[in-house]
């Protein structure tokens, strides 16, 4: 009876069970009275109007989320650096690059010992430059790989490049705007923020804000632009705020950043 009653309240009785309940009730008047009483009492247990939490809860949650995201990003970068070290050793291109560096090193030592008048500093700078160029070449080559994780690795090589040439920046911008994988595009956005001093990088981040549709990437770009403090980002952020397709969480982030940039 208890099970039947509970199922009756949730309107889950099938025809057979309903019949069974009706038979039980028709055979026992006291039981029928109790059933009717409890049914009426249950119906009177109205759900009260729900109350809304205050903005403090939102604030606490979004601050906690940002903190967790920061911790997650640090963890990922550490993992990627670890993976990068391994692949740097294993990659044929990089073995080739290491070979070039080694040869240049031997050449430099040879020159240094045979010609005392050599300008040491300029030679070191030249080697450094060669290594930098090699890294850039490797990165450009890896950006064309099919595997998304390799393309992310390629993007992350940027952090080892001090002064990227236009070709590298353009490749990063192309990746940001056209790569099919959201994680690769996000990595490209973060890498471009690393070169935030370059106008071409900032321009690309501002322009991409209105073309990216994925909320997580929109939020990443909004964060980057707010951190870079480029006031030109206010307009596209306002457009996002007016766009009915923009998700609430993105609008909230855009609103915060517009405030920050308008200070």
């Amino acid at each position: 009876m208890e099970q039947l009653f509970a199922d009756y309240l949730e309107d889950k009785l099938n025809a057979k069970q309903r019949q069974e309940l009706e038979t039980l009730l028709s055979d026992d008047e006291a039981l029928r009275d109790e059933f009717e009483d409890l049914k009426a009492f249950y119906a009177d247990m109205n759900k009260p109007a729900e109350l809304d939490p205050t903005a403090t809860l939102d604030l606490g949650f979004y601050m906690m989320l940002e903190k967790e995201k920061g911790a997650e990003q640090k963890k990922r970068k550490k993992e990627q650096k670890g993976a990068m070290r391994v692949s740097w050793i294993n990659s044929p291109i990089l073995k080739y690059a290491a070979g070039i560096v080694l040869l240049l090193g031997i050449f430099w030592i040879g020159r240094k010992t045979s010609d005392k008048d050599l300008n040491d500093l300029s030679e070191i700078a030249k080697i450094k430059n060669d290594v930098e160029e090699t890294k850039q070449l490797v990165m450009l080559s890896m950006l064309k790989r099919e595997s998304a994780s390799e393309r992310i690795q390629a993007v992350n090589y940027c952090y080892d490049i001090n002064k990227p040439d236009d070709e590298v920046l353009k490749a990063l911008i192309k990746t940001l705007n056209t790569d099919e994988n959201i994680n690769v595009r996000t990595s490209a956005a973060e890498a471009l923020s690393h070169f935030g001093d370059e106008k071409i990088a900032r321009d690309a981040l501002i322009q991409t804000l209105l073309t990216q549709k994925e909320p997580t990437l929109q939020i990443t770009v909004i964060d980057i632009l707010a951190n870079l403090g480029d006031k030109r980002a206010v307009k596209p952020m306002q457009k996002l705020l007016q766009n009915t397709d923009t998700e609430e969480v993105v609008k909230r982030k855009a609103m915060e950043s517009v405030k920050v940039l308008s200070l």
Partner: protein, 171 residues
Amino acid sequence: MTDEAAMQLVASGDLDKAAILYERYKRPLYNFYLRFGVERDSSQDLTQQVFYRIIHYRNSFRDGYEFRTWIYRIARNIYHDFLKEHSHNHKDLHENIEVAEEENYDDEQYLLIQKALKKLPQEYQEVLTMSRYDELKYEEIADILNISVSLVKVRVHRGLKQLKEEYLKLN
């Protein structure tokens, strides 16, 4: 996007998806605590703790879990921790709870039923509140409380009988 899909993405590191779940569940969970008689500020704190735990322990969410059941189980555990922290005896909180409820709701009938509900053993309070006010199915309640569905149904029936008796006494 389903709750489960969003949570799977959170578990795989896409933490922004937690905002979707937060926006869906912040109000029900806040009211879940209010209905247990927790005052407003503490209800917000407890709601915040639920989301902290789902993010912090995101990797424990497995394929096949039902998100709603999972989050309510966490919410219930946090409520029990709260009770333990504030009093070793559930009944010691009654006075504060009654004051909080009167501040939160102005429906006299509801307040009277809540008063009667607090006189029941906790296992009856829980199933009746979850079933009637949180609109959870018996299967979900069974999952949250880690008991059989049959036992949930028994508790609903017995709890309701006892609740009516307490209610009539108060009236």
